[in-house]
């Protein structure tokens, strides 16, 4: 009987205690695994790393295949890169890159700017605005129209309207001007330092580089309008130069991100080579162009095919869309993948090819996005059109900058300049020479080679024999996710011949 009483008592206590203080008991729904607010420093690290990664990711492959810097190959089933190269790039293929650009990179940049404004850290706002302008101009160059003014409002507006490319470009110039003001601010509670993976280090050293990047990016944007609005381009470039703006003046100013030799921290072009073997080879358009000038960058850019040593005396063979898939081509080399650790050991196959695994690369080569070499080619081309500057001097400086970034010895650079450094002929011939050199120098640079081709028609490329349609695409389809989910988006393009605003006929 005692036990029965004890049980009755226990029952009562248990019942009461379980029902008590319900509210605190249930108030546990904040995740211990994530934060509801993040420091501005780590937001910027995320943003700069994502920008660097992005530079060698999906959009690089699409644009490099279209511009024929690369060619899609494959063994067995048809690979996506073969399809992309023959212009079969669907809206659904673009979902990931769209998501990465807007929902990862631009959202972090936007939040960095907002936070910087609240916290009184204009230096952060300045850096984020430069990167934001960089990202948005790529969006315009690739798609033409895109959400800008109504974008990045998070849950406030999940169906942003689209803006015209020309309007976005105008706004980007303002954004870059504001960025420079912010970067120059005398006081800033916090300033980017080692936490920025682009121009890492003390702000005193990185500040001039961010400003040079902002101005050089303005030059790139002005030049993009050379086809649609030549006179304005000349005027804008001349007056920007006259304003005393600083521009890149050495390879150390290059807008690029260095990577490190650890799995999943290596550069994105190299990672793709590891993940998707035998799918992405240097294109014959690029290789043949360099072969025709005995370009000394080739042993850094490519492995020889057939494989022989020394590389300086070897021949190089590029791949071509539409040909039967093969691995009997040059492969990309140290310039894009970083140093090798086993250069001596490689023994080629009987047919002269090497296997994807023959070389071990450290994957630390930078992803380059806007280089000092390109700055020189921009100036050279602008000068040809009539803007301030000596076109030939800039042309040669561009070649030198690119070659020295690739590690070409000075003697070889001098010899190359002696043979190919003069800029003569009609305006069109000069532009061809400049763009062809720029095309080589921009090996591995996202978007710009395709943009240059659309602006100037150089280098001359012809559609692969198996192309889906005869003309090279002039913009990309709107991502399928946008068509599906945003009823304020324009209707899908009829085909890829739709031109962006600066690409007038």
């Amino acid at each position: 009987m005692k036990i029965n009483k004890f049980f009755k008592y226990t029952l009562f206590v248990v019942g009461v205690s379980l029902l008590a203080s319900c509210k605190d008991f249930l108030d546990i729904n904040q995740s211990p695994n994530a934060v509801v607010d993040a420091p501005i420093e780590q937001l910027l690290t995320s943003a700069t790393t994502s920008v660097g990664f992005f530079g060698g990711s999906d959009l690089h492959r699409y644009s490099a295949l279209l511009a024929q810097q690369f060619s899609g190959q494959g063994q067995g089933a048809t690979t996506q890169n073969q399809e992309y190269e023959r212009y079969n790039i669907q809206g659904s293929d673009l979902n990931n890159v769209w998501n990465l650009m807007y929902a990862t990179i631009l959202s972090d940049l936007e939040l960095t700017i907002q936070k910087a404004n609240t916290e009184g850290s204009p230096h952060y706002a300045g850096v984020a605005k430069v990167l934001k302008a960089y990202m948005f101009h790529l969006i315009v160059d690739a798609w033409g129209r895109a959400p800008f003014t109504e974008a990045l409002q998070f849950t406030e507006n999940v169906k942003p309207n689209f803006d015209n490319g020309a309007d976005i470009y105008r706004a980007l110039h303002n954004m870059l001007d504001e960025a420079i003001v912010n970067l120059n601010a005398t006081t800033s509670v916090k300033s980017p330092g080692a936490n920025s993976t682009i121009y890492p280090g003390a702000y005193a050293a990185s500040k001039p580089r961010w400003i040079k990047l902002a101005n050089t990016l303005k030059l790139r944007l002005y030049l993009h309008e050379s086809k649609s609005n030549r006179n304005t381009t000349i005027q804008n470039i001349t007056s920007l130069i006259a304003s005393g703006a600083t521009f890149m003046d050495a390879n150390t100013d290059n807008f690029q991100m260095a990577f490190i030799n650890e799995a999943r921290k290596q550069n994105s072009i190299h990672q793709f080579e590891l993940d998707r073997v035998n799918q992405f080879f240097p294109n014959a358009t690029l290789v043949d162009l360099m072969n025709s000038k005995f370009d000394p960058r080739r042993p850094r850019f490519f492995t020889p095919f057939p494989f022989t040593r020394p590389f300086d005396a070897a021949s190089f063979t590029g791949a071509k869309g539409g040909d039967a898939p093969s691995v009997k081509y040059s492969r990309m080399h140290t310039y894009l993948r970083g140093d090798t650790t086993n250069a001596v050991a490689v023994v080629p196959q009987a047919d002269g090819s090497i296997k994807n695994t023959d070389y071990t690369y450290n994957g630390t080569a930078p992803i380059r996005m806007l280089t000092f070499a390109e700055y020189n080619f921009i100036r050279a081309e602008a000068a040809v059109y009539g803007a301030t500057g000596d076109a030939e001097a800039f042309y040669q400086a561009g070649i030198r900058a690119s070659m020295s970034a690739a590690g070409v010895p000075t003697a070889q650079i001098d010899a190359y300049i002696a043979a190919n450094g003069s800029l003569t002929g009609t305006e069109a011939e000069k532009v061809r020479k400049i763009i062809e050199e720029k095309f080589v120098a921009n090996y591995g640079v996202v978007m710009e080679p395709w943009t240059d081709w659309r602006r100037t028609g150089f280098p001359a490329i012809s559609a692969p024999t198996n192309a889906l349609f005869a003309t090279t695409p002039r913009s990309l389809y709107y991502p399928q996710v946008e068509i599906d989910l945003n009823n304020n988006a324009p209707s899908q393009k009829a085909d890829l011949s739709e031109r962006v605003f600066w690409d007038v006929q």
């Binding site: 379980l18 249930l26 934060v35 937001l43 990664f53 979902n95 929902a103 990862t104 959400p147």
Partner: protein, 945 residues
Amino acid sequence: MVSKKTKSNLGYAVSEISSKDLTTARVTNVTNALNAKVPGIRISGSGGSFTGSSIIIRGYTTFTGSNQPLFVVDGVPIDNSGGDTPLQSGPALSNRAIDLNQEDIESISVLKGAAATALYGSRAASGVILITTKKGKSGQKNSITYNANYAFQEVNRIPDYQNEYAQGSLGAFNPAAISSWGPRINGQQVPLPSDYRNKLVSPNDSVSLAAYPDNVKDIFRRGSNMQHNLSFQGSKDASTYRLSLGYLNDRGVLDNNNLQRYNVGLNASTEITSKLTAAISVNYSYNKSERTQQGNQLSNPLFRSWFTPRSWNLSGLPFENATGGQLHYDAAVDNPYWTIKNNLYNDLTTRVFGNFSLRYQLTNWLSAEYRLGVDNYAFKYSGYDQLGARGGANTAANGQGGIVEGIGLQRTLNSYFTLNGTKQLTDDLALNFVLGQETVDDVNNFSQVIGRGITVRNFRNLNANTTTFVPSFSTSQGRIIGVFGNVTTSFRNVASLDLSVRNDWNSTLLSGNNSYLYYSAAGTFNLTEALPVLKSRFLSLAKLRANYGRVGRASLRYATDSYYVTANPADGFGPNIQFPYNGLPGFTLSNTAGNPNLKPEFTATTEVGLDLSALNDRISLEFTLYQQKSTQIILSVPNSPTAGISEVVLNAGSLKTNGIEVGLTLTPIKTSKGFWSSTFNFTQFQSTVEELAPGVDNIFLGGFVTPNIRLVEGDAYGQAYGSAYQRDAQGRLLLNANGLPLPTANVQKIGNPNPDWTLGVNNNITYQAFSLNFLLDIRKGGDQYSRNLADLRRNGAVAETAEFNRLNEDGITVGTPYRFDGVFAPGTPNAGQVNEGAVEKRVSAQDYWGNSGRHVAAEGFIYDISWFRVREASLTFSVPKRMLTKSFLGGLDISIFGRNLYLYAPNYPHLDPEQNALGINNAQGLEFNALPQTRSFGVNLRATL
């Protein structure tokens, strides 16, 4: 928690499976033992003998959350998570019901529909699998039971290969090709692939071309499944007990796919006083396994092995060199033997679950019970990726080698306090009621470190032997408080009414939205009791059932806030950056925005049914018709990423299921010497996505850019989407100038993975000491995107690709025996004309079966998986008692049994279609190089002392 009710008064359909039916042909994962035995549920295995198996009861109740039922053992829920198979890395895993020992199960009841499950709370919205374990019975003599079981298992189907044509393409030999479109095999000398050159054959590097008909079959082994079970049970005075020991060893059909399980079970109860009863149930399991890599990755030993070139001596040539590096003809994938040996995964789960209860008889009609249930398990897994691995394997180390070590702790506490009353109000009117309170506290802890960059081959120590580390740790916790009540009244045996109500407070919603009420009502009306004139020798029972019920369900944890998460930029092809990067942490705003205003979602079921028994119960029928509707479903609704986020968690959308289930038992023969009975379990349901979120017409459930499985507004749950063939207005194929079909640019619906219906027929024929059981499993309809079948065909490996002579009379040039029926597409020279006569374009076997022909579009990979199979069969001889009287044995049964003994799948050649790339995921219908389904034969011995 809720006392078991007598079936005669139930207003809803409950199906019960007895221990005997569960163990006809033993399996490793008890989930598979439910297959075809219950009307209204659908079990989908995902290949192999111990991977995940999905249970869908009466269709789908939610969009992207789990549709798996709640497992309840002896009144207390246990965890059945896991069983999703990753698409691009790692092995296929088991759902945790695999920890249960079938031998310890007395019966399984399947509760379907909201009226049956409302009392079980939010977690039961997709149904309940109610398991009762074996216990000692009061007054039972002490006894010992020993059961031994041994079965061989083997791959159920091996493709029918061609062995006429060699490795290569366009009739030419190529030692590096993955296809078998090469020359006719004729003993000619051909070069070895580069890995084997200068190493094996001297003086030249050529071999004589031959076919290796068993080069795929040899990858597999004959596996086995061994189970030993020993139990002691009985009673003494006012106490009962059952103690059981179990051992299981499952050796899969691929090397390094093994699972061992040890179970210890204890059930004991005692009457402390005449009014107070205490009981305890403890189940311990120790479950460890080794598994090979799975999915769409180059380290999956089956990634390209099913279509190994017919002339490739896969098993006869070495797969590794002297230093352990791999050798293979194909430089892009891992050699299957090498990856099985070198890319390793093993796991270990130790688990204790059970409950402690005290029951006190307050008065002769009222009792109180307190029950505390615990489910506590720890798991550890470890993966090793060899230097030089070409696939992602466990750690995606890009050939640098990697080790992953993970540990998890999962603990669920369930506390119940119930008052149970039973009162006979009048002679005719009985009343039962339950009042109860439930508290659930569930905590998961998970720690993992990935180390990459192996220095010393085969040294499996993460901290000593890898150079870079990616740790990840997480904790999550959820709590529910529920209060419930149930009243059942019955009027004689004529009618009954069952009313339930429950309110939950759930921690995953914010105050103001976190309390929700739901309820059910179920009634029966027994026509034969009400109108005895209906009762006859022909008709013994006619009962009508009807019910309505509604269950609320809250969201996943931590969906009420937006968070910043560790950055991880990635492209769609594998490359990504893992943080911390170079010593720097990085945070990014999660692409999924939380929502503080989330409310619970509800699933309501309306059900009517009829039970009939006729001809002295020789025929009994249970017929149920139901409609189920889920509303304000919680869902991550995708939006334009240009907003800076790509989805927001919302209450959106509705999902409706209409279904019929029929259980029919026939007993054509019933004599003193034996009987024959057959139970037909018919299941048909269709879940239709009525509405997604505003402006969203489809949602991605799983898969690839093409193909994938989607929810599409207005269509049945989980459709297969991918590229299709271009067709003209009349539905004819559009062909290019070469007479080959063209793919559509965008994805479209290419298949519906949901079956039209399934039927299980469980037969039991007993004659004297012999008993024959066999279970037929019939499935009508349902599509699968089969990567394996596509690969077998497009690479020219299977017999039909050599149906016609591939080469012309010269024996060298490629012939064109095939023609696609269709019309030439606009823009081609013969636009609009039918591909015949003068304009006919014939194509080669390689073009017809290959990537430019049938497999140009995902539509060409779709197969109807309708099947008829003998799922289980056993023949048991029970040694007659009279023969045992002089022995120490109380009973002795000997049986032979088999699983998957026969399969007829008219539209699915070469392989067993019972596979799913994503395991138990909601996305069903994709097959990507999964472990094959197995067939087994064995013997079972059961002795009772």
